[in-house]
């Protein structure tokens, strides 16, 4: 729904994420989303290429597996950064969020496929034992299962079918996916190396920001309710 304010102060967000009415420079980029897909897939091509020509060092399968998983996490974190970027910095990348989210899913899928095919050689006994016995693999698999319906419904048709409210509620599961993803990373390594800890902190900040906003809004609304009940006359409130 676009109500099309043109005075540059109000705004409205379409499903496609165009921020109508904002100054031109704030719509950081008007690039077609296809460019995001094309650029986003470059790391995968690069890593597969290095693997194919034998340039991934001593343990190429592990390198590839890690790189794909890491890019999935980076892209997932990027999608979570879009709202804070808009609200705090005024940089609006909303129209690329679907592309970034889907790319995150594709990388997760490639990461999982590498694990199943190259790491475990499709030995389903070993894979099943891994899922049951090793918590970080259980968590990684759960993360993928959480991402799956989000990826399937990342299109306009799904939004129309589900209705905006339901769709939005469903897609809040991305927060759960992010938590599972960083846990999966943290628990897959020995000790506490700096890299997974850094990603966990970034994810914690991005999710914490939302939680803080949610709590503050709840508080403000509670206060407003109380205020309006106490008053005998209704007051015009400006939020």
């Amino acid at each position: 729904m676009c109500t099309g304010f043109s005075d540059g102060t109000a705004m409205s967000i379409q499903n496609t994420g165009t921020w109508v009415g904002a100054p031109y420079w704030r719509n950081l980029s008007q690039l077609p989303t296809m460019v995001v897909y094309l650029v986003g897939i470059v790391p995968a091509i690069w890593w597969f290429w290095l693997g194919a020509i034998g340039r991934l060092g001593a343990d190429p399968m592990r390198e590839l597996e890690h790189a794909l998983g890491l890019w999935a996490l980076r892209l997932l974190i990027f999608t979570l950064a879009i709202t804070p970027l808009r609200q705090l910095v005024g940089v609006n990348l909303l129209r690329y969020r679907r592309a970034l989210g889907l790319l995150a899913f594709y990388y997760a899928l490639m990461h999982l496929t590498t694990y199943l095919v190259l790491d475990q050689g499709l030995n389903f006994d070993a894979i099943w034992a891994d899922i049951l016995k090793r918590l970080y693999i259980t968590i990684g698999m759960t993360c993928f299962v959480v991402l799956l319906p989000l990826a399937v419904t990342s299109n306009n048709l799904a939004i129309r079918r589900l209705g905006g409210k339901v769709w939005q509620r469903l897609h809040r599961f991305v927060y759960l996916a992010a938590i599972l993803a960083v846990l999966h990373f943290l628990m897959s390594v020995k000790s506490w190396p700096i890299e997974p800890v850094t990603y966990a902190l970034i994810a914690a900040i991005l999710l914490g920001y939302r939680l803080a906003r949610f709590l503050m809004r709840g508080q403000r609304q509670g206060k407003l309710k109380r205020v309006s009940l106490d008053r005998t006359e209704p007051t015009a409130l400006h939020l």
């Binding site: 343990d59 190429p60 020995k190």
Partner: protein, 314 residues
């Protein structure tokens, strides 16, 4: 317990340490005689400083570039490529080594004095990391038993405790806010494990001095245990009566036991130990291989653990 050298090594096969130290000079002379680089390389191969050992495996060694670029040595960073990039900052000369504890002859040694009495041997050993990968590494070293015998352990000594250098100024992994392990890194062996003929202190690999990222100038190699037992850059060896603390066990006692013998039947909580991937083999499509009990050294070492439940003593 007296450990005798296997009888099929003739003393003539063992290069004296002096000749070992002079090998560069020897090669240099060869080159100076302008015999060409090819011949120089041959000369180098001929002057391998270490005697062959019947304890060596006949498996093809892992390529040197992998042995020296894929390392777990957290003092230089937690990524496997970190040690090869960062370890060059470590000063290994001079190097002092303390041998003390329950021994008749405690001493501080300069490294050369420490090594000098012992004949160097090449030991080509399988190396199995707890993370599920393996290599075959041609170490150069000498039995730890020689060192312990020289120190003359007292009757109540039952364990050997080892300690790595702690020098944050040269070890970037020991600096900073976030530390993956307590420093210094410490390890330990039961005395009978320590004097087992397979257990060596390594000072080299392939035909060269131990590279820094592999634990220069002196490291422990216990081929039937997971790689992290092989403590690197040792500054202290102490004979003790009680089981000493070990770094990974302190960090996570549920995952890393004191013994840490390679055992396909006892899974690490996060890695199956049933199989392993051989580094440098087959690229992206390398297959897993079954892991052997005691990393294939069961015939030599299983008797050390007779009657022990290895699920409890992992």
């Amino acid at each position: 317990m007296i450990i005798r050298r296997a009888e099929d090594i003739r003393s003539s096969e063992i290069t004296p340490y002096g000749a070992y130290l002079n090998r560069r000079q020897f090669i240099g002379t060869g080159t100076a005689l302008s015999l060409g680089s090819l011949l120089a390389r041959t000369a180098r191969a001929d002057t391998l400083p270490a005697a062959k050992s019947p304890f060596s495996t006949d498996k093809e060694p892992t390529a040197l570039k992998y042995v020296t670029s894929y390392n777990n040595y957290y003092e230089f960073g937690t990524d496997k490529s970190d040690p090869s990039q960062n370890a060059h900052t470590l000063t290994t000369k001079p190097w002092t080594l303390k041998v003390d504890g329950l021994v008749a002859k405690p001493a501080d040694y300069a490294l050369d004095d420490f090594i000098k009495p012992f004949a160097l041997e090449q030991r080509i050993y399988r190396h199995r990391c707890v993370e599920g990968w393996s290599m075959v590494i041609p170490w150069i070293g000498f039995p730890l038993a020689d060192v312990i015998r020289r120190a003359q352990p007292q009757g109540n000594a039952r364990f050997v405790a080892f300690e790595t250098l702690k020098r944050p100024s040269e070890m970037p992994g020991q600096r900073g806010f976030f530390q993956p392990l307590d420093w210094p890194y410490v390890e330990g062996l039961r005395l009978d494990e320590a004097i087992h003929p397979l257990t060596i202190l390594a000072v080299g690999l392939y035909d060269r001095d131990l590279p820094n990222q592999n634990g220069a100038p002196l490291r422990l190699v216990v081929p039937w245990k997971y790689g992290f037992k092989g403590i690197k850059s040792i500054v202290r060896i102490k004979l003790v009566a009680e089981m000493p603390p070990t770094s990974w066990n302190k960090q996570n006692p549920n995952e890393y036991g004191f013994y840490s013998n390679v055992n396909p039947e006892v899974d690490h909580p996060r890695w199956s130990q049933k199989t392993e991937r051989k580094i440098g083999e087959g690229g992206l499509f390398a297959e897993r291989h079954p892991t052997l009990p005691f990393n294939g050294y069961a015939d030599q070492v299983a008797n050390l653990y007779a009657g022990m439940d290895l699920r409890n003593f992992f």
